[in-house]
């Protein structure tokens, strides 16, 4: 909680800190890191119900494309919200049809879903197809730090939702659904409702992050926006940071993105070898992720 608040506060104050010549670079990198962390937090919300999604790249992309297409007519904020809503709507359809699937079956079904959506966006005319879609910057570029603070806001929203859900009664329903679906139902948990709710909240947040991403990169292609790479990132970060927590995906996202950036600048060619090795070592020596490490340091039992 304190950790999460601290990170968010730091994010808010970052533009004012005396970073010297590194300021712009740090802000740019941080903005992407916030969005990816937000996506990871969103993924983790769904994972709490035991559903391992590979569709979060698609939700991210749906949010990105919707926001990009709607922003000129509706303005930045309504477009972002609608982007999230579009992602949530698709997640409802996906969630309804995959209710009965578990584990890898669910994962592959969601992967299949995102591949199909990507092809549709690729073939559609209004999305710019494979050529790509130019996007206006946030608030039509009126505020230089507008995009940055939008990313901070998205991260804050994702973290808040994650924290609140972790403390709400829904937390128990989600955890029960994950740890034993049949038992949860017999105990009165409306598993269908819980799963769909988690799916929609999660997809909404992923879509929101996608929208801000679009307004930062200014250009979308189906390959970038719907890439499998992003879906995998959304899954790698929570495992790295610590599953089913708020601080885990949050810190994990910031660390993974910073690490990758630092390695790229430091090592240049082949830096991903080191990145892959770090992932392997993390799992071998920190099976509960960063949060597990922190808990162990404190001597606590809970991750």
């Amino acid at each position: 909680m304190i950790l999460v608040g601290g990170v968010l506060l730091l994010a808010l104050l970052l533009p004012g800190l005396p970073l010297g010549e590194w300021r712009a670079f740090v802000l740019d990198t941080a903005q992407f890191a916030f969005l990816i962390s937000g996506l990871a937090l969103a993924w983790d919300l769904l994972a709490r119900t035991g559903q391992l999604s590979l569709a979060h790249g698609a939700f991210f992309g749906l949010g990105a494309y919707s926001a990009a297409l709607l922003a000129p007519g509706l303005g930045t904020l309504p477009a972002l919200l609608l982007g999230g809503a579009v992602a949530a709507l698709f997640s409802l359809l996906l969630g309804l049809s995959t209710l009965r699937l578990q584990g890898m079956y669910f994962a592959i079904a969601t992967l299949a879903f995102s591949e199909v959506i990507r092809t549709l966006v690729l073939k559609a005319q209004f999305t710019g197809g494979s050529i790509g879609l130019p996007v206006q910057p946030a608030f039509a570029g009126a505020y230089p730090l507008g995009g940055y603070y939008l990313a901070v806001a998205v991260l804050a929203i994702c973290a808040m939702v994650s924290l609140l859900l972790g403390r709400s009664r829904l937390h128990y329903a989600m955890a029960a659904t994950r740890q034993g679906e049949a038992v949860a139902r017999v105990l009165g948990v409306s598993v269908v409702r819980v799963k769909l709710l988690a799916f929609m909240i999660s997809a909404f947040l992923a879509g929101l992050a996608g929208g801000v991403y679009a307004m930062k990169t200014l250009f979308l292609t189906p390959y970038d926006a719907f890439g499998l790479g992003r879906a995998v990132e959304a899954l790698v970060i929570p495992i790295f940071g610590g599953l089913y927590t708020t601080a885990g995906p949050l810190l994990g996202g910031l660390i993974v993105v910073s690490l990758e950036t630092w390695l790229r600048l430091r090592i240049g060619e082949g830096y991903l070898v080191v990145y892959g090795l770090i992932l392997i070592l993390t799992i071998l020596f920190l099976p509960k992720g960063l949060m597990g490490l922190l808990a162990r340091r404190k001597g606590g039992r809970h991750a």
Binding site: W22, I131, G132, P134, T221, D224
Partner: protein, 385 residues
């Protein structure tokens, strides 16, 4: 003896005074083939320039990761941390487009090495420090169409187009189709997914169409499967014409490459002085010959920049830009000078369709076959597939 030494010292000091030093950012996808080749070319060119003694170019190289999410912060770092005024980069169109925002914000002199998409031309249309060396996509179309006109005169009537459904393959496809039809061709076009390696079904479909030319627009990974499977389904076109950004290593040794034609901006066998010089220098530095035209492209950018800096004898980006706009030089691609682009959207366009040449894989190597003034061999048409 002493006098000579003093003279030497004075001379060196004088040289050092006259030397202009500029820091240049390089932003390329260095883990891709084209990006690596481009970087090699730039480095080779910079070595040349620095060896001349009057100009000293220092490079700061950053990987653009071939994705906007990496490229945008990388550019920011070049501009604010490394404080460069000049950036060489912009290989992929999507990435370059995404860079248009930050470029306008930081106002560097941007020497663009690739990014053929006219979407990029539009994005940079109001930016005065944008020097685009590579031809635009409409140049590419024009060059290919000239070749098709020649083929039509040789009796070709039906074209089957296989294009990958990404930004590279589908960018100009509507224009291509319309233009070919204008020339009198019957056209059938089919998209495919690059790297899938499975073309038999689509090629089978083409069989009923009996194309004279099988024209594919894809990547190096598709070259061998298409050449092999065309034979395997018995399509028997009179020409396989490919337009990938690069060809696979070792393809020329494969018998299946025989008679396959393609378009490139440059071949190591191109017979002009600059090209020969480049090949020699490249071989000396890297111990091999490159087929990638992005290598001489990077080389040309570095050399032209060197000239402009020398002429400006200043590290000021606007004075350098003014001089660069006046540069006229011979390059491995032919003469280079900057003019407004054909659409008038950007002010400094380096090369146009005239650098493209058509080649054919013949007896284990690529030989220019068109246009006639640059051909080393006559085109083999119909080819044997």
């Amino acid at each position: 003896m002493k006098k000579v030494l003093v003279l030497w010292v004075l001379l060196l000091a004088g040289l050092a005074l006259a030397q202009t030093t500029v820091r240049v950012g390089v932003l390329l996808p260095i883990s891709t083939v084209a990006g690596k080749a481009a970087l090699n070319g730039v480095q080779l060119g910079v070595e040349q320039v620095n060896a001349g003694g009057k100009v000293k170019i220092e490079l700061v190289v950053v990987d653009d990761g071939n994705t906007p999410a990496t490229a945008v912060p990388a550019l920011t770092k070049l501009m604010t941390v490394d404080r460069v005024d000049i950036v060489i980069g912009g290989l992929a169109s999507g990435v370059t487009f995404a860079l248009s925002g930050p470029v306008k914000q930081y106002q560097p002199l941007f020497l663009c090495i690739g990014a053929a998409s006219s979407v990029v031309e539009q994005a940079f249309s109001d930016y005065g420090r944008f020097f685009h060396y590579h031809p635009w996509d409409y140049h590419n179309v024009a060059a290919a169409l000239e070749f098709f006109k020649y083929l039509y005169e040789n009796g070709a009537r039906r074209v089957a187009i296989l294009y990958e459904d990404g930004p590279f393959g589908s960018a100009g496809i509507q224009t291509y189709r319309a233009q070919l039809q204008n020339q009198g061709y019957t056209v059938q076009a089919e998209p495919f997914k690059t790297g899938s390696g499975n073309f038999t079904a689509i090629l089978t479909r083409f069989k009923a169409f009996r194309p004279d030319i099988l024209y594919w627009i894809g990547y190096d990974v598709d070259a061998l499967p298409i050449a092999a499977q065309t034979r395997q389904v018995g399509l028997e076109p009179k020409l396989i014409y490919g337009a990938p950004p690069a060809w696979p290593v070792g393809f020329e040794k494969n018998r299946l490459s025989n008679d396959v034609a393609g378009m490139t901006a440059w071949l190591p066998s191109v017979a002009n002085n600059e090209s020969r010089r480049f090949v020699n220098l490249y071989r000396r530095k890297f111990g091999e010959v490159t087929d990638e035209y992005m290598a001489p492209m990077g080389y040309v950018i570095a050399l032209s920049l060197g000239r402009a800096v020398e002429a400006a004898s200043s590290a000021d980006k606007d004075r350098i830009a003014t001089e660069l706009a006046k540069v006229q030089m011979d390059t491995p691609f032919g003469p280079l000078s900057f003019k407004p682009s054909d659409t008038g959207r950007t002010r400094f366009q380096g090369f146009n369709q005239s650098i493209w040449l058509q080649f054919q894989y013949l007896e284990g190597s690529r030989r220019p076959v068109f246009p006639a003034n640059r051909a080393a061999r006559p085109l083999r048409y119909p080819g044997n597939y």
